[in-house]
């Protein structure tokens, strides 16, 4: 189970990088980065998964005394929660900059932006 999730995550990272590197349109690149971001999150969560265990929430099903043998690693989950939120922020920033770039040049084709090329 964890292996499937991890493989999916790695494939998503590769798809995202392929999309970001092969597309010329800035909006498509942003979407590709979001896909790669999802892949990274999936890999991180998969690393914390352990077979036959349950979510790190204590209740009747997982009494405190048995917690260490019943729950999966909560640390990657906390990390991924942070990563998702920061990912949203990064995507919003990229979209705002893409809008600004479109305003200045009237195109979203990255090959038209040669100002920093040498």
């Amino acid at each position: 189970m964890a292996m499937i999730a991890m493989a999916t995550g790695f494939v998503l990272i590769l798809i995202g990088l392929f999309g970001a590197l092969s597309n010329r349109n800035i909006l498509r690149m942003i979407v590709a980065f979001a896909v790669a971001n999802t892949g990274v999150n999936l890999v991180l969560v998969a690393v914390g998964y352990m077979d036959g265990r349950t979510a790190p929430i204590l209740n009747e099903a997982v009494p405190v005394a048995e917690a260490t043998t019943r729950i999966i690693d909560p640390v990657p989950q906390a990390l991924v929660l942070t990563a998702i939120v920061i990912g949203v922020g990064v995507t919003a920033l990229m979209l705002a900059y893409a809008y600004k770039l479109f305003k200045t040049k009237g195109t979203l084709d990255i090959s038209q932006y040669t100002d920093l090329k040498w």
């Binding site: 590769l14 392929f18 204590l58 209740n59 690693d73 906390a78 809008y99």
Partner: protein, 233 residues
């Protein structure tokens, strides 16, 4: 052609690295020491049923403060970048088509429910899989629905800024109270930890997470608002 070839070569190399990582990966059979500490001591120390929330709000509370700051910065920069391009939408150049019956009625029906659900999610963060960030995102989705159904109604940037500032200040203030009354910055034991699994338990965690939820909701809303105001009507 060369470019495409290089790209495929690069991705193949990266894929090989990933495959190597995956083939060597052996899942842990038991929790590592950090996770084990959290599993053993969260309930007794903090009284929070959801260990992920306990880590985010208390054990690594400082990181969450930083994370909220990053979000605030993002919202501020989006506002700054788009500020010049804000269009006056009070007098659109053309007659706007009316909002569809379904969307208008649906918004009226769903908006209070969405806001209620958001508040539920962030106030029960210490008991259920949820919390301030998720609840805040739900609140902002309600805002998005409102923007879709009433594109011309102006929501105050001011109101959003006030909610955001108060929530942020309250977060830091509770953190400082932790230094004065309990073990350190953002310690949740300034309030009684109560019985595990009840709404009023886990000390200050629900309070802190509610403020985080309000702040995140306000930040996402301000981003949505800024992005929507760049639209020429």
């Amino acid at each position: 052609m060369i470019k495409r070839f290089t790209l495929i070569l690069l991705l193949a190399g990266l894929g090989a690295i990933f495959a190597g990582l995956m083939l060597d990966y052996v899942p842990d059979s038991e929790l590592n020491r950090t996770a084990d500490y959290y599993a053993k001591n969260t309930a007794a120390d903090l009284g929070a049923a959801n260990i992920v929330t306990a880590i985010i709000v208390t054990y690594r509370g400082l990181d969450t403060l930083g994370e909220v700051t990053v979000l605030f910065l993002t919202a501020a920069i989006v506002g700054l970048v788009l500020a010049r391009d804000r269009h006056d939408q009070s007098q659109p150049d053309r007659e706007l088509p009316p909002t569809g019956e379904l969307l208008a009625t649906g918004t009226r029906l769903l908006l209070p429910l969405i806001l209620l659900f958001g508040a539920y999610v962030f106030s029960h963060g210490h008991l259920t899989p949820g919390g301030g960030f998720q609840g805040g995102a739900i609140l902002a989705s309600g805002m998005l629905l409102m923007l879709l159904s009433h594109p011309l109604r102006r929501f105050g940037h001011r109101t959003i800024a006030i909610v955001e500032s108060i929530a942020g200040l309250a977060f830091v203030f509770i953190g400082v109270l932790g230094i004065a009354l309990a073990g350190g910055f953002l310690d949740n034991r300034i309030l009684p930890t109560g019985t595990l699994g009840e709404l009023f338990s886990a000390g200050a965690i629900p309070v802190i997470y509610s403020f985080v939820g309000l702040k995140v909701g306000a930040e996402f809303s301000s981003m949505l608002l800024n992005l929507s105001e760049t639209e020429e009507l």
